[in-house]
């Protein structure tokens, strides 16, 4: 049986900051949820189910937060699911919510993802050392930096390309009223002058640590038809996973990401992603992941991703604007970061992206990855219904 059509009816997000000590954890979620309900013009009684995502519980020290958040999420008497796939969770949470509509189980589903990083210390939480091990771990940056070095060696990319990504995303973030970091005056030179944290990753090439949440209301075909100005129609979804380590694993260009992208483009009927996709929100927590994922996603051939970035084609006004919202480099509430990519893609095709709207965006990619590049989730959304 074919999938039912599903669409994004509305989106909402918090003002992301290093510390949102003005709100509780439920209050943080509701700031995003209330905006999404208002954007979708949907009220609580219409919501059939709630799907919540966040990254590891160690980040806030609350086991099973979905239980204590049920009141704030209006989940009393409704199905409430919690999803966890590390940093990709915001994306996979949206896909689980979408599947409930595509399966014909529900008509309208609220999906929410969040992180309140200020309640703890993610670097600490990601570096907990079990007994018998060598204490060389150094958080996410320490994990990914060697693989970035491998990409540089393999592709021969010039050293300044990472700084181009960082300066572009931060300048884009300055156009986004919700972004955590808003740095309109940042330059490639100032990024290159910033401190080397995990050589070869510099301070300004690193995502911030943010408190924030993101929410979306997804609906079925008739709900999508009713959206003023047009819904964002879900054209394709894909998730793939692979083990963190195995002999011969490609850590730069993981097979799971390539497989997910191939399945995604096939379902969306896209044969030439670079020409057929108008804008992409890609999970780029460290600058070099833009060229790496451009290759993994099939926008560019292996070893060529950096050329698109260096040519300025991933900036606003370029051939494929990447992260016009400012991306993870401008706001990183970890659990929400993936859903922000998915919702920003939807905002683009709904024409609701404000100052960072890509002119005429009709087809957009939302992408997330997590763990040691072992979870991938992605969707293609469009302003027109699939097949029309």
């Amino acid at each position: 049986m074919a999938k039912q059509l599903a669409a994004v009816l509305g989106t909402g997000q918090t003002h992301h900051r290093a510390k949102r000590t003005d709100v509780s954890m439920p209050g943080l979620l509701r700031e995003a949820v209330d905006r999404a309900l208002a954007d979708a013009q949907v009220d609580w009684p219409e919501i059939d189910a709630v799907v919540l995502g966040k990254a590891p519980d160690m980040f806030e020290g609350v086991m099973m937060p979905e239980l204590f958040l049920a009141d704030a999420l209006g989940a009393n008497g409704k199905p409430l699911l919690r999803v966890h796939t590390a940093g990709s969770v915001g994306g996979s949470t949206a896909l689980v919510a979408a599947s409930l509509i595509q399966a014909g189980v529900h008509r309208k589903v609220l999906t929410v993802a969040f992180e309140k990083q200020s309640e703890s210390n993610a670097m600490w939480a990601l570096s907990i050392l079990p007994p018998f091990q060598m204490p060389v771990g150094a958080g996410a940056g320490g994990y990914f930096a060697p693989h970035v070095r491998s990409y540089l060696r393999r592709s021969g990319a010039p050293e300044h390309v990472g700084a181009i990504v960082a300066a572009k995303d931060r300048r884009n973030g300055a156009l986004n009223p919700f972004a955590h970091l808003r740095q309109p005056d940042i330059t490639v030179e100032s990024v290159r002058a910033s401190q080397m944290l995990w050589d070869p990753i510099r301070y300004d090439e690193t995502c911030p640590s943010s408190d924030g949440a993101c929410a979306m209301v997804l609906g079925d075909e008739s709900s999508g038809d009713a959206v003023e100005g047009g819904a964002a129609w879900i054209h394709a979804t894909a998730m793939r996973t692979e083990p963190t380590t195995f002999a011969g694993r490609d850590q730069v260009n993981p097979q799971a990401g390539r497989d997910a992208a191939a399945a995604l483009w096939k379902e969306a009927g896209i044969t030439d992603p670079l020409s057929q996709v108008d804008t992409a929100e890609i999970y780029v927590p460290f600058s070099w992941f833009e060229p790496m994922w451009l290759e993994n996603l099939g926008f560019m051939a292996e070893g060529e991703g950096w050329k698109l970035t260096e040519a300025g084609e991933t900036a606003l006004g370029g051939r494929l604007p990447v992260n016009p919202s400012g991306g993870v480099l401008s706001s990183n509430p970890i659990g929400a970061s993936g859903m922000l990519r998915f919702s920003e893609a939807a905002k683009q095709v709904m024409g609701r992206a404000g100052d960072y709207q890509v002119d005429g965006a009709r087809t957009a990619l939302g992408h997330a990855y997590g763990g040691g590049s072992q979870y991938f989730s992605m969707w293609v959304v469009g302003s027109a219904k699939p097949g029309s």
Binding site: R30, D71, P146, R149, L197
Partner: protein, 331 residues
Amino acid sequence: MTAAETETPLSAPLDVGFDYTRSVGPVLGRFVNALRERRVLGVRGDDGRVHVPPVEYDPATARALTEFTDVADEGTVESWSWVAEPLDGQPLRRPFAWALIRLDGADTSLLHAVDAGSPAGIRTGMRVRARWADEPVGHIRDIVCFVSTESPPGDPAPAPAPPPVADRAEGDPVSTVITPIHLNFLHSASPEESRYLRGLAEGKLLGQRCPACGKVYVPPRGACPTDGVPTTDEVELPDTGTVTTFCIVNVPFLGQRLKPPYVAAYILLDGADIAFLHLVLGCEASEVRMGLRVRASWKPREQFSTTLENIAHFEPTGEPDAPYESFAHHL
């Protein structure tokens, strides 16, 4: 039966703890600041019920709630459970009851401790009142516990030290509470990893080869992650290898055990098919490169235990670099 199956797996404690900070927001904020004044606040829901502690959003309508009301610090035990052996961090250090207490004026019950001496000293329907801390700080533990209104204990239970308090400007209300959380695990290594760790204690590096794909894993996994078959074929590996890739850690962070800067490198031992992370010393960090040939620098044998830390670090052998093609498929 292999040796790995007959030896007891190694175990060691893993203690994880953090003082989490909770920003209480506008509703629980009102509640904890009222506790500082020895008042208990509830919030009225859309159906008229008074929730204590107050909830931010109505459980039925999900609407934000804002109508606060004072309730009594006396109430009725609705249910209870006896704690014969209190744990660290619990409200009282001697046996007590966890009870659901409906305070007068409230429609929901509050979970708190009752200092009742023995299970005979508590019953459902019993009237109890709050025993307040000498110096309330704006925390649920400003109520030390509840006691019977008719026959309070003659010797009040000694209360644990007051909870840690977040820094705030003089005169500001409490906006953050600190919640220390400690998890104490016993971490057990797998039989295969235990055998590898016992090898390390003898200065040996033991891996296992997959019978299907022939790849050598160190540490051994017990099952090949690609083929899913047991890897019973043991291989002793030399302590020389190649740096495949690396980063230089310049950033200090909470819980870090090495002083930055240090080089964290993937070392591919000669004969192994998977690299592991270790330290490279013995040259300037800027001289470490992909393909660098290295050898283990072991600690003095009398310091050996069952850990990879027996290798203090890896250092250059002085050999020519390994050609890129020899390790490119390990990146």
